[in-house]
Structures are given as C-alpha cells and as structure tokens.
C-alpha cells in the first residue's frame, strides 16, 4: 500500500504529458475519415448480428425473396416454433451447470497453485512451473483421442464429468494469479503470519478479495470458453440430457437446416446470454485480452 502512494503516476501534482494536447487537437480538426472508417467497421462487424435478428423475425416467404428483405416483419412465432422443437431448457441448464462448475474449479486450482508459485519457496519450483507452462503446448485436438479412451475407461463418457474435470485447471489462470501474487506486498504476508493467521485463512480472507480483478477476468474467460466449446462435448457425449447448448444448436442445424427463420431464432436465443455477459463485463473482457499477451507486454 505504502509503495503505491509513492509511485509517480499517482501523484496529484503530476502534470499531463505536454505532447498530448496539440496532437489531439489536430485529430479533432480532421475527423471525417476517422468517422468514415469507424462507421464502415461498425457496419461490417455488427451487420451479421442485425441480419440474424431480421431473419429470425421474417416469414418464410420474405426470407426466400431475392434481392433480400432488409427489415424485420415481426414474425415472433419463429421463436416459439424453434423453442418447441428441441429441449433447449435442458441444454441451457446443462451449459450453466458445466460452465459454472468448470469456472469454480478453475478458480480454486488457479488460486492455490498461483499462491504457491507466487509467494512460497520450495524445492523444484522453477521446474514445476516450467512443466505447468509446457501444458499449453499440448493442443486440445491432439488430446481428443487419448482423452476419449481415458474417459471411456473411467466410465465418464456421456456424463457431466467428462465436460468439467479435464478443464478444471488452467495454465492461463495459474500464470495470471502467479503474476499477481508476485507483486503482492511481502509485509502483508509476514504481518498476517505474525498475527497467527493460517495460510488457508490468509488466502481466503486477504488474497482472494485483493486478487478480485484477476479472478473475475479468469472466471469470465473460463465461463465463456466453456459455454462456447463444441468439439470436446460433441465427441465425449451423445445424449441431450448432458449436452451443452452449442452441441444442441449443431444438432438443431442438422435436423432443421432449411428452416432459416427458426434456425435464426435459435441462434438469437442461444447467443443472447453470452452477449449480455459480454456487454455487462466488456471492460474485464478487454482487460483479459490484454492479459493474454502475458510475456509480450513489456
């Protein structure tokens, strides 16, 4: 805490960078190409979102018109039709349970390992850390076959376990929390120890609240990754009773592939939760993207 107050960027008397002011002025005078580019980018990147909503609200005959119809027609029955044709509620419940459990477990394993790497001295620390980091080199595609056989031997195929446990530790999470604990004030740890606090108590009462930003970033990305995952659950499960939403949507594409209005409606209501999460926590998502650069940032 003390160190923070002394750092120059927090001094209130710090003058703003002198170069910034005139620079900014130049760009304020020439905003038109900037605006144009901004509008073009927004249109290109957001149009597919608009388009799927329009399609989901159009009747079958409008969808099959050429050239295409650009405005929605309020055919809300597409939603009720799509909703009734697959066990979406079950898919949602499965996804929330799988993503939630995975996130919780990743937070626990990352917190413990990150704390050990960041604050403790023990034999083999560097080698073990390098070993953990090396896990990043082994891609999921390569692990599909052996993990399928391992999960089969465990009798975990077609269960929630197959979708949660293999993903319950994250190198990204461990790395991020280790970095965090490395910059943790030493005195705080020593003070807590002198006060007779046990390590677990220290982690729970002091480290967790202070590491909150890092924990939130990890939680968001793990939750999102779990929600969006397809190949793994598609291979490891067969029955809708345990399958997540994206596998359900792919199945729906397979059976209702020509019902474009219903399919679009299904895309909208299955993606809406992710988009809401993203809009609510956009700051943390962007921060997480920065954090992902890890080694690169100077």
């Amino acid at each position: 805490m003390l160190q923070r107050k002394q750092s120059p960027e927090n001094r209130p008397d710090q003058a703003p960078a002198p170069a910034a002011a005139p620079h900014r002025k130049i760009w304020r005078r020439l905003p038109w190409w900037q605006w144009l580019l901004g509008i073009v980018l927004v249109v290109i990147f957001l149009f597919p979102f608009y388009w799927v909503i329009v399609t989901s609200l159009n009747g079958a005959n409008q969808v099959l018109q050429f050239p295409p119809v650009f405005l929605p027609h309020g055919q809300w029955q597409n939603y009720s039709r799509a909703w009734s044709e697959a066990p979406w509620l079950r898919y949602f419940a499965n996804t929330i349970f799988i993503a939630g459990a995975t996130t919780l477990l990743v937070l626990i394993t990352s917190l413990l390992a990150g704390f050990a790497f960041g604050t403790m001295q023990f034999w083999g620390k560097t080698a073990i850390f390098a070993g953990f980091i090396a896990m990043m080199m082994i891609p999921q595609t390569v692990l599909l076959i052996p993990d399928y056989l391992v999960l089969r031997d465990l009798h975990w195929l077609n269960t929630y376990w197959a979708q949660i446990v293999p993903w319950s530790a994250s190198v990204f999470g461990i790395f991020l929390l280790r970095q965090y604990f490395l910059s943790f004030p030493r005195e705080l740890i020593e003070a807590a120890r002198l006060d007779g606090a046990t390590e677990t108590r220290f982690i729970w009462k002091i480290a967790v609240p202070m590491a909150k930003p890092a924990l939130i970033t990890i939680a968001l990305y793990v939750f999102l990754g779990s929600w969006n995952s397809f190949l793994w659950p598609y291979i490891m499960t067969q029955s809708p009773s345990v399958q997540p939403i994206e596998v359900g949507l792919a199945t729906f594409l397979g059976t209702n592939g020509t019902d474009w209005t219903g399919l679009s409606a299904a895309v909208v209501f299955t993606t809406l939760p992710v988009m809401i999460l993203f809009l609510v926590a956009q700051r943390q998502f962007l921060a997480g993207a920065y954090a992902a650069t890890g080694g690169v940032k100077g």
């Binding site: 760009w27 900037q34 605006w35 290109i44 295409p68 052996p146 319950s168 969006n228 679009s264």
Partner: protein, 293 residues
C-alpha cells in the same frame, strides 16, 4: 524465515489439484497418443491392438490425403494469418487516435470474438446461401456474377476464411492496440520533429518497436488457425469434395468417423510437433524480449 518446513509441504499440497488434472488429462494422454500411434489400435477392444512400429507414420506420409490436408491447412493459415495481421494492424492504428465513438467501434470490432462459433457460423451459412443469401444479393445488385460460396469447391475456403476473419480479428486488434500504446509517444514525436512524415515514422519507429507484438499475434493466430475445427464442421463438413478438409478436420474424420485410431493418433502426433514447435518459438521470442528490457 520461520515455519519453513510446514510452508514447503503446503506448497506441494496447493499444487496437487492442478497437477493432477494436467497429469491425468494432458501430460499422460500426450504420451498415450504417442503410444497409440505405434499400434494398429482396436477402437472397441484395446487389448486386441497389434504393434506396427512406425507404419502408421509411413502410411500417412505417403498418403495423398495427408498432404492434401496439409495444403488445405496452409491455404487457411495464409488466408487468415497474414491477411488478418495486416487488417488488424490497420484497424488498431486507426483506433489509437482519439475520436468520439472510438470505444464503441472497438467494442463492435471485438464483439464477434466472444460469440460461439456454432451460432455465428450458422448466420454466415445463411449469408453465403447461393440462392437467397445476402452476399449474392449484394453481388447481384452490383451486377457482379453470383458465387456458389460454401457449395462450390473454389469458393468454400474463401467463405470460411471470411467468417474466421470476422470472428477473430477483434482479438488481434486489441493486442495490437496494447502493443501500440506501449510505444512511447515521445519517440514518435521526436521522429516527427526530425522531419519524418507519417509513413517514415511508421517504418522507422512504430514497426520495429512493435515487432514483439507482431510475432506474438503471428504465432498465436497460426496455432489457432491450425487447430480451427468448428467452423469447418458447421459450414462445409470438410467439403465439397474435401476442398476444406484441413489437417485438424482429417484428424476428426479418421478418429471419430472412420475409427482408424492408430493412423489418427499418428496424425495427432505430427500436428502436435508442428504446434509445439510454434509455441516453443513464441516462448523463446517472448523471453528474448524480456532480456532486452
């Protein structure tokens, strides 16, 4: 330091949960796939597998489908990585300037990255629809020839590349913006004062200082493109006529459609060598970067 003994033991205790997961589901299986690749593996009854040595590898390396898939993967990598890098850098540089609505533009560009590939690739299948799709509608209005897109051997891959760029470009843009903001404005200002125009300033100051970021984006996106699967599964199923069967897609076909576990494992090992090599390169470069500072 006191209580050192107890602390030591608890450190190993704290590492155990993560280590167990990595051991059982990552490290162990990585060796297991290597082992499987040396067998004519019986998918239904592992005990009936027969040892064949390197035969799966020699079969693979002499099969046209393997080299074809590698060429297809290369096509996809070239279509997504250099093109994506170039576009992301331009967008990032444009977004570095302050203007009203900048935050919104950045959010819009990044938003496809968080969407599930299954869901948004369905939207693009519809956009690419040859009869009623939006894209052919636009081409028609512009009096340009309409294309078969995902249903044509020639245009299926460009279609998947277009979707992938839309989906993933935002992440690269954010990384580049982070890299650009780390470059001191003073240096660029100094170049400007020395009489450099915007172009010279970019090539002599921004570009060299951005090298670590560029390499990071290059390697991360290459690895991502080599592993891409879901959009191929939903948009083309590797077709038409294996025009989009990448190495990752071939691996899926061999392993889980044809149940040729041994050859698929050998293919996984080859893919692993390529990806691990790229990852090691990335780590090495990241480390060298920190030495410089």
């Amino acid at each position: 330091m006191f209580a050192t003994e107890r602390r030591r033991r608890s450190a190993y205790l704290y590492l155990t949960p993560a280590a167990l997961v990595f051991l059982v589901f990552t490290l162990g299986p990585a060796f297991f796939v290597l082992y499987i690749s040396l067998f004519n593996w019986n998918f239904l009854n592992s005990a009936q597998s027969t040892f064949v040595g390197l035969q799966n590898y020699t079969n693979l390396l002499t099969s046209s489908s393997f080299w074809h898939s590698l060429a297809i993967s290369l096509y996809f990598v070239i279509g997504t990585v250099p093109v994506g890098l170039f576009l992301a850098l331009i967008i990032a540089m444009a977004l570095m300037n302050q203007f009203a609505g900048r935050g919104f533009v950045r959010l819009a560009v990044f938003s496809p990255y968080v969407t599930p590939v299954v869901a948004t690739s369905i939207v693009w299948i519809w956009i690419f629809n040859p009869q009623f799709g939006l894209l052919n509608g636009l081409l028609h209005m512009a009096h340009l020839p309409e294309l078969g897109w995902l249903e044509s051997q020639r245009w299926a891959m460009p279609g998947v590349i277009l979707y992938t760029l839309w989906h993933s470009l935002g992440f690269d843009v954010i990384i580049f913006m982070a890299g650009l903001s780390a470059i001191s404005a003073d240096l660029r200002e100094a170049a400007r004062i020395d009489g450099a125009n915007r172009w010279q300033e970019f090539w002599s100051v921004t570009w060299p200082l951005l090298t670590p970021t560029t390499l990071f984006v290059l390697i991360i996106t290459t690895i991502g493109s080599l592993q891409a699967f879901t959009q191929f599964f939903t948009m083309t199923s590797g077709g038409p006529l294996s025009a989009t069967t990448t190495t990752s897609y071939l691996l899926y076909e061999l392993a889980f459609l044809f149940y040729r576990t041994g050859p698929a494992a050998a293919l996984a090992v080859l893919l692993f060598i390529i990806i691990a090599g790229l990852t090691a390169l990335q780590m090495l470069l990241a480390q060298r970067r920190t030495y410089y500072q």
